[in-house]
Subunit: 361 residues, 2 copies
């Protein structure tokens, strides 16, 4: 059943007032504030309707109404206005993303940090390879008779290195051999294909006595293993204590430890990682710990076989419009960075209004 125009206005008023004050909203307040020229009694009738339709809830008989998850859903999908970012906000974000040439994980965690600062909700960010990682190139740099630097370039163009020590000495020639053998046999293979047999055979071929092959292989194996989803970085977790719904320490405790421990289980972007922002409201979340919370998230493609996601967690009473706007802007920045490889010199003003999430259910 379609909502009447007036019902929509009333629902919107309830949601926005509740988002702002965290107090149940009464008929009188709406009558006064949301300038539709009817009395509170009329509003009451409408509220009763909206409640029986499942869009509003009553904490107890003589309290005002608060939005149900479905109510938020309608709000997010149809009623929400677009939040315009202030100059200050865009500047903050640009600074965070611009400042330096950073490594991916640092960049993501700074993106999370600024998001968290601006929205005052905890933010998390992570990156993961779209498929299994492989190494596409090895280099071994002979430093001195006891030291070699191993450098590996992954298929996603990230580069890793490791200092290897050889107390018993190693020869420069042998390091070259190492390089040849590793580039021949250990490139373009996945973690699973890097078998002990392969390593043993490499040791045979090179006639290795120093343990260098084993060390290098373990380095490679580590890279392939750890190239899996990076552990998400969580920023501003303490922000959840800002919000009255977490005045109960137990609730806060649960969410906080979920964020810091299991945050890894945070759903990675679903396959259809559309470019849009997704909003999961309360029970729409799969994780039990999030059933009372909402998540606003976006995923993005980093081009070189890497996907990432970044999002914000808060109570269902969340300022969706604001958060979506911020997130959208941050994600745009990240994409720009990924595309151009250049600094994201976004114009701080005059950017197209952000779009919000797709329907969920």
């Amino acid at each position: 059943m379609e909502l009447s125009e007036r019902k929509k206005k009333i629902l919107k008023a309830v949601v926005e007032s509740y988002i702002e004050t965290a107090e149940p909203v009464g008929s009188k307040a709406i009558a006064e504030q949301a300038g539709l020229g009817v009395s509170s009694a009329t509003i009451r009738n409408e509220l009763a309707d909206l409640t029986s339709m499942g869009y509003l809830e009553q904490p107890h008989t003589s309290a005002g109404r608060i939005p149900s998850p479905q109510g938020y859903r309608i709000y997010v999908n149809e009623l929400m206005h677009h939040h315009a970012l202030s100059m200050h906000e865009t500047r903050e974000i640009n600074n965070a993303l611009n400042n330096k040439v950073k490594q991916l994980d640092v960049l993501l965690s700074e993106a999370g940090a600024v998001l968290s600062d601006l929205t005052s909700y905890p933010a998390y960010a992570m990156a993961a390879p779209a498929g299994a990682a492989t190494i596409k190139r090895f280099d071994f740099i002979f430093v001195d008779a006891h030291t070699v630097i191993a450098v590996a370039m992954l298929d996603n163009n990230s580069v890793k290195n490791k200092l290897m020590s050889f107390p018993n000495g190693i020869e420069e020639q042998f390091v070259q051999k190492l390089s040849t053998v590793f580039n021949a046999n250990f490139t373009n293979i996945t973690e699973k294909e890097l078998t002990p047999e392969l390593i043993a055979s490499a040791e045979r071929v090179t006639g290795d006595l120093t343990g260098a092959v084993a060390a290098a292989a373990s380095f490679a194996l580590n890279l392939l293993t750890e190239a899996g989803p990076s552990r998400p970085s969580v920023s501003g977790a303490s922000h959840i204590l800002d919000h009255p719904e977490f005045k109960d320490v137990d609730k806060a405790q649960k969410l906080l430890s979920y964020l810091s421990d299991n945050g890894e289980l945070m759903q990675m972007p679903t396959e259809n990682s559309g470019s849009e922002i997704r909003i999961l409201i309360g029970p729409e979340n799969v994780a039990d710990e999030l059933k009372d919370s909402s998540v606003v998230m976006a995923s993005y493609d980093l081009g070189n076989n890497m996907k990432g996601m970044i999002g914000v967690v808060g109570p269902t009473r969340m300022d969706y419009a604001k958060v979506a706007a911020h997130l959208s802007y941050v994600v745009r920045g990240l994409r720009q960075l990924a595309d151009g490889g250049k600094l994201p010199l976004m114009p701080p003003d005059l950017l197209p209004a952000p779009k919000e999430g797709k329907d969920e259910n």
Copy 2:
């Protein structure tokens, strides 16, 4: 004035009971529990003495006693027993440190994580160069006409790399020239000495048109800058909510945000970074946010021009004995790792009892 043997026993009993229960301790409880064969009235007299000496406090007239910071101090310095780690605990720690070949920051943050898990207090860890960092070696790896990997080895033996892209192309010969010039002119200099003039002169010498010199120099500059104190990693922050002193959300909020934001200001090990564990109780902390909390920390030398610190933060009512034991064991592990460069194959049992902190005031 020296405390009588009996007063010491009573003080110890008060501290330990309070640490365990978080409830003010009454004379009767002590009389029953701490088997010195005197009545509660006698204990009361002693408690009154200890209170007037400043070692105990009374929340209000008709409540039991709780230890004052000075009381904890005495306890920590003289009265505390050594906590023996269980097999399980040592195993946890060994696992955390052993598992893989890790980068320093990851290692430290895992050390913090296990410490936090075991003690159920937040832990933080950081590393910092003892002096200004310099780069001791550059390598530039020519990947293809548009891609070069820059590798730099710092004087603390850490190795960093960066992928540099050249949309307009770059020649292999030029990369070699780059290597020569950088190794000649950019090694063993500090951040301050890496001046724009130096860069300009390098550009002149190489006749650079690709921007490679600028890119490489900015890479180097970044390393030297960021080699400063790493931002500390904080683990298990949500653990503070486990403890009743933080049932007040505001307090928790303050400490939490101090930990995640300003944690950087955490005092680095004082110059005399003795090998011992230091315990700072309540007001002994310089940071205002920590005046109600205690810090148990240790610093360690990583050999190659790197110093680090790792510690635990909790309420003054902290299980100092346990925390000190855990921390001590973790630090021993880190030192072993640093010394040998090998995996820390510590015997999980039969380790010498940990020593606790030096006096503070």
